[in-house]
Symmetry: C2
């Protein structure tokens, strides 16, 4: 597996790198970003890793440029890995209508079952299996993993953790799509990637998965109350109801005045990084 | 003077706003960004203001999205104002060759004297006079002012402070163009905005101005040693020599490994904000 370093920039005493590699899961070339804190340069270092999943239209760059996470990651000795949000490239089919909420930039962190999407759109396997194997083989990274994300990526973080007991030690989300089976973004994506049989959709819906979760990893979720997508797409009350019904530990914080942007994420990222670092310690 | 609020986003308990207004100095409509910390909502608040001048190609948005300044500004009770980097609009002539280092996004914070630039390119008067008057009349802002900036904006911050004794209580810069008379970016811009008579250029060159400065405001300057523009465009050694010759207090910090990007700025912005807040207190 060859990794091509596209750029290296010093940040808070550590290094931000963009890396290109060929993904077998996605059958295309991919770029991810990684932040290596200063502790990564210590001999024999094996640091915990937080995987950050971004939202619709994002790439590996948005979080690294806008969240202000490096300062705290450098303090905590946390590696952060930010993958892209879908398979990419001319060979990867996108939305037939050129929309921004499906296809390129909108992989929804699932494994598609329907042609023509099923060949490339396997972001779940990429994020959960292939990328961590790559990181842990090539960087000073341990197998202590946390996962977080925003919006579509918040959905991704919840679903990756709920589907894979034992794989993550911590999970959190910002303004996640909690119940994609019941919102326009999710219905559009699932009906194409997964087909019309809604029983298949339950395997990729946090509210459905939480009922039967084999592991009760505590969830930390922040949601802005001035988020324009709150009522129609995000539905934190559905997650709250599902967690309560299942007895799943959930800390849902509704933040007055905050919207869906990275200004919101930056305001609370430190709390999330400390939540992950506590669980990932040792 | 009417202000049009284009957007309002909560950030670290305060508010990030983008504002459009008509500039008399520039004879065009302009957009600036302002961060109002939580303290701005206290009755009768009159907070100090840091003016941030961005570099080539930037707008009001780059600093607010990427520098991670709001966290510290919210702690310190500091308003931050980020203007655009040039006059804008179809009526404003840009670079005849469409280059990115002159014209739109490249106003160099001076008052142009040559046609056709002299009608609109008066960023010095906009930044030093018109914008503070607007801010202090319409926002909970005092006349305690600091100024900072990056690259072309670092040049702007140094020159605005050196030309206007008593107007600022603090000044700093990241990777400033210190000696524009002697570098390609500056020579291109000055020869067009100011004409071929180089004696006129000295009024807009920090290294020249520092010799005769009427006020010895301490300068804090950070410069990345891995900055690709260091030797040809930025020349921190020229500023060091000019400050030493003039007896001007300069703290020049060369930061090993850092480049010219906002990853560099974000790593050290807290030091700069605290430098300004100390001088602006009370």
């Amino acid at each position: 597996m060859s990794l091509e370093i596209l750029s290296t920039q010093k940040s808070f005493g550590g290094w931000h790198k963009r890396v290109r590699h060929h993904s077998q899961a996605l059958a295309c070339d991919m770029v991810f970003a990684v932040y290596l804190p200063p502790q990564a340069e210590q001999p024999g270092a094996r640091l915990p890793v937080l995987y950050w999943l971004s939202g619709l239209t994002c790439t590996d760059e948005n979080f690294m440029q806008k969240a202000g996470a490096q300062r705290v990651a450098a303090e905590l000795g946390l590696i952060i890995v930010a993958p892209d949000t879908s398979p990419r490239g001319a060979e990867v089919p996108g939305d037939p209508d050129g929309a921004w909420d499906f296809g390129h930039g909108a992989g929804f962190y699932l494994n598609a079952t329907q042609a023509p999407w099923s060949r490339h759109y396997r972001m779940h396997d990429y994020v959960v299996e292939e990328l961590p194997a790559l990181i842990e083989a090539n960087l000073p990274a341990s197998d202590r993993r946390g996962i977080s994300g925003h919006s579509m990526g918040g959905h991704g973080a919840l679903v990756c953790a709920l589907r894979n007991p034992g794989r993550y030690r911590s999970v959190s989300a910002f303004a996640p799509i909690t119940n994609p089976m019941q919102c326009p973004w999710g219905e559009k994506a699932f009906s194409r990637y997964l087909g019309d049989e809604r029983t298949q959709w339950r395997e990729w819906d946090a509210c459905a998965l939480i009922a039967q979760a084999a592991e009760r990893l505590p969830l930390l979720v922040d949601q802005g109350e001035a988020d324009g997508f709150l009522a129609e797409q995000l539905k934190p009350e559905a997650l709250q109801a599902a967690a309560t019904a299942a007895g799943h530990p959930l800390t849902l914080r509704l933040q007055p005045g905050y919207d869906h942007s990275y200004y919101f994420i930056a305001s609370f990222i430190e709390d999330h990084l400390r939540h992950h670092a506590r669980a990932l310690a040792g």
